[in-house]
Amino acid sequence: MIEAVSLADPNIPSTPSNTLIDDYPIPKSGYDEMYAAPGVLRSHWRDLARFLEETGGEELERRHAEVQRLLRADGVTYNSYGDLRAAPRQWRVDIVPLLMTGEEWSVLAAGLEQRSRLLNALLADIYDQRLALRQGWLPPELVYAYSGFLHPCHHALPTGSRWLIFHGVDLARGPDGVFRVYGDRAQSPSGAGYTLENRIILARALPMLYRDAPLRRLASFLETERATLAKLARHHPENPHVVLLTPGPNSPVYFEHAYLANYLSLSLVEGEDLAVRDGRVWLKTLGGLRPVDVILRWVADAYCDPLELRGDSLLGVPGLLQAARGGHVALANALGSGFIENPGLAAFLPLLCRQLLGEDLKLPSLPTWWCGHPDDRSYVLAHLERLVVHSILPDQPRWDGSRLDAAARARLVERIQAAPHLYVGREMLPLSTAPVLEDGQLTPQPVMLRGFTVVDGDGYRAMPGGLARVSSGLETLQAAVRQGGISKDWWVLAPTPQKHVSLLRQSYGPIFVTRDGNDLPSRVADNLYWLGRYSERLDGTTRLLREAFGRLLEWEQDSTDERYLDDLLDALDIPTPPVAESPRARFFALRQALLGPMMDADHAGGLRIILDGMLRTGRAVRNHLGDDSWRLLNRLQQRIQELPAHLGARQARELLEENLMLIAGFCGLNNETLPHHQGWLFLDIGRYLERVLRTLDLFHLAFITARNRGVSLWEVVLTITDNLTAYRRRYRSALHPTAIIDLLLFDEDNPRAVGYQLRRLHRHIGRLHQASSSPYRSAEERLILEATATLQLADIEALANLSPNSTHANAELSRLLEALRRPLLELSDALTHSHFSHAEVPRQLIAMQPQ
């Protein structure tokens, strides 16, 4: 039984009137999780009810807002496929947990474990002996017409291997209080990562509730998962290499993949990071190929191997199925296990359970009728108004029979009769309700649960809890959260308070040690390099824009010389606005032109385009950035993408100013957080290569091509590079071009100077891992050497006479800048060629997809 443990926060004064719980509008029918009947609070909710009451609606709303803020800061979102611009859907978490007693849980857990054993046994049969078909326990049409049955997966596992390692089950409680299964997930059973994240964030927002609460903790389940994955390895049982295979940052649940990889200390890889050679799977790293023993697979079955499965897949690894068949790599779950997601199986599970396991099915499914059977079909057609009709094929619409008009109903009947074996009818039961906080009030909302099991020894083990969500019972989990669903933490109560195990401390720390260095996937190195370039580009463009707005404002106030604004527009690649009739008109025209790169989402070279690049590459290396860096990147995204409709020059300048701090924070944190191994080297090379190219461009503009060369523009150069103070301290004099050149071109100790930047690049490039052990310098080493030597051998005498009118010195500077620029531009291609070799995508010999 549950001990009475005070969950009340002593710091919160209790509200005078007990309204929150008393005002809960208990539904008139159905099963409510909190109330057995009006006035009859279920006893296991007592402590939580008291806590909620004592906290009060207002304070709960504050905590709720805090939870949403934490979620957003952590970037817990569902992405829309491939669209960086679409505002990521907010994954909302209700702060009222869903409670379940330990007794109820053990019954449910036994049912879940049995279900996993049963479905594993079914997979082993269906991809081998097919006794279930030959004995007539399962009709062949239900098996073979289902696209999740994959012929190439016949005998895809060595005998005795387990098909189902990890299993997600959608459940809901009906009006009778009985749990029923709504669906099974084997291919990418989403939710475990969100469950963890919810628990961590709620514990942070409601420490008084969570600390020492009598609830079962999740950590040991995840520990079992990690141990089970390691045990699947045949080749390196003592130190297996386990990777998590994701479709990539465009997947709507990429956040979860990155999160779980971190939590379980796995390499997060995409299909193109892997190759099959000699019958084994290898990870392509900077240091060469590294063997992979186990793949936790979050790519759908059909997309995993373009040789034997879908030939048009770019997410898979050619030869993967053969490698698995040979037992040289273990997949969790095995390829082909998506077969159990067939909703029609529900009608046959009681019989299959008796035949395959010799047991009665403990956990019922939602009552299901398969239309391939004449009697069931008649039943479905006669009771359409009470049923929901599903196609057994994935991603097909569902028809809620109670909402169809006569015409739609006739169309559905026609559909079913044309191919009855493709349809099932399922009874629509009202879901149980649970309290959800809305505007400071508790309201009952229907909930659906997703439970999880994982292999544990010879059997399975269920996660104590899982993901609860507000649901109509019709939509899938992915659809629900993509539309911005509400989730809840699902508590399984324990008899005594359980120590809160800090999941965060466990999950962070070792990750960078194992990930960086020579075993870094070359795709990750590529993305880090471009992340470095984009972040520096964003910084440079923001600085130029800030300077331009600043000068614009000064001019407005003092009517000083403003002609160099045209040169700033050139630097920003903005066409000069036509000559204006009045200073006022010119001000507005210039302001409008400068707002383009800030406001316009498609402005080439504008902030939003650069940010897209940062987000794309940043998401692809999500696991390599610190959490604080990640939060800063999310902040930056909000600030750049969510601008007010009308922006004044002053406001724009302030925004840019603040963004600069965020960018500096992002780059600085990366410097302080990432160990300075291979991954960081690429990030830093990207940043400094971008910076040196921009610095050269700025020089070229200020001294060679500017329309209004002279002191004002030199000052602009110094402010943009934030070196005005350094100049003044060093020279205590008016601006002199030769001094500026020395400070920003030749100085090897000034991070804003080309000399320093080249030296830094030279040092980093020398530290990059080289694939061959050739005694000669690599192409990138030769190029950076060329640039460095060019600078060091420059004709300083000639440059000393630099002034707006000295043709010789200007020509010499122009020649020098060009001689520096060329090898640096080539350097980027050389890096790509030497280190980012994943770029080549496998293709089919013959296009095999029928039209």
Binding site: R134, G136, A275, P318, P842, M848, P850
Partner: protein, 304 residues
């Protein structure tokens, strides 16, 4: 009949291929009417790994991977095969009416019939649709024995469709083949299968070879020196009966079976996924050479 079959495929690439995974279904399967000697397989460059297995349908599959950089891939399979004149059916063999066959497929719990039911379903290349049922209707008259009806359909396809290797590719949809009344052996096999499936009957695709040396006095058969394809229909209580709509016949000793499946996609002779390679060109040659028998007289048997 005894044959030596040599099937040679050469791919030329315009640039280097670094890695290539392949699956070949070029090893003939053993059946009650076909015996195979061990095949001689030559692959250049030498594969780093090659493994033979049986697929879902019992076909022999050779998986191999080339890990050396190459610009040309050559696969040659030579197999000695003896085809016995023991295939059971002629079109006048007794068979149930096609309606009785449908009823048996619905109700009979015989494991062989349960197994055949998978071939009633649509597959990627063969999707049953009303136009195929309409095309089949004149052959499938009420109460007509299944084999007789199918033989009639076979004859009509042969008569009404033009053999035109330039008209179709693997990807040409079947309704276009039906509309234009032209195609190659693979299209005709798929078409007949779509007709059968549209009626609710199980049909499977057979890939293989055909001896094309014309016996004296007989017309030359189409499909010379190439892979060939035909189909089989399941007759409840009797078994699978093969039909070759390209040549209006029931396969006999001249038809050498390689593999079978739901459609072409299950039995493509050679497929692969490569890294690199640019564009490629393909050369295929097939040689079906009759071999002397111990008993000379057997050579004269013609099973048409």
């Amino acid at each position: 009949m005894k044959y030596l079959i040599t099937h040679r495929t050469v791919y030329h690439y315009s640039s280097d291929v670094a890695l290539c995974h392949n699956e070949a279904r070029l090893l003939p399967r053993e059946t009650s009417w076909q015996q195979c000697h061990p095949s001689r397989v030559t692959i250049r460059p030498r594969p780093a790994l090659s493994v033979e297995r049986r697929d879902f349908f019992g076909n022999r599959v050779l998986y191999f991977v080339i890990q050396d950089i190459h610009q040309q891939l050559e696969v040659t399979v030579a197999t000695g095969v003896r085809v016995l004149p023991t295939r059971q059916f002629t079109e006048s063999s007794p068979s149930p009416s096609w309606e009785q066959a449908l009823a048996a497929l619905r109700e009979d719990p015989d494991p062989e019939i349960i197994d055949a039911r998978q071939f009633m379903l649509d597959s990627p290349f063969v999707v049953a649709a009303p136009p195929f049922r309409e095309y089949a209707a004149p052959s499938f008259l009420p109460g007509r024995p299944l084999l007789e009806a199918m033989a009639d359909l076979n004859r009509r396809i042969h008569r009404e469709f033009a053999y035109d290797p330039h008209f179709t590719t693997i990807a040409t949809p079947l309704d276009q083949v039906l509309a234009e009344r032209r195609g190659v052996c693979q299209d005709f096999a798929h078409l007949a299968m779509a007709c059968l499936r549209a009626l609710g009957l199980p049909a499977r695709y057979v890939s293989g070879y055909l001896e094309t040396l014309p016996p004296p006095g007989q017309p030359r058969l189409i499909g010379a020196d190439a892979s060939h394809a035909w189909l089989a229909v399941y007759v409840p209580g009797v078994g699978w009966a093969e039909f070759d709509p390209t040549n209006d016949c029931m396969p006999g000793e001249k038809h050498i079976t390689l593999a079978w499946g739901r459609d072409y996609g299950d039995v493509a002779p050679l497929k692969g996924v490569m890294t690199g390679g640019g564009s490629h060109s393909l050369e295929v040659s097939v040689d079906v050479a009759p071999q002397p028998e111990e008993e000379e007289g057997r050579l004269k048997v013609v099973n048409l």
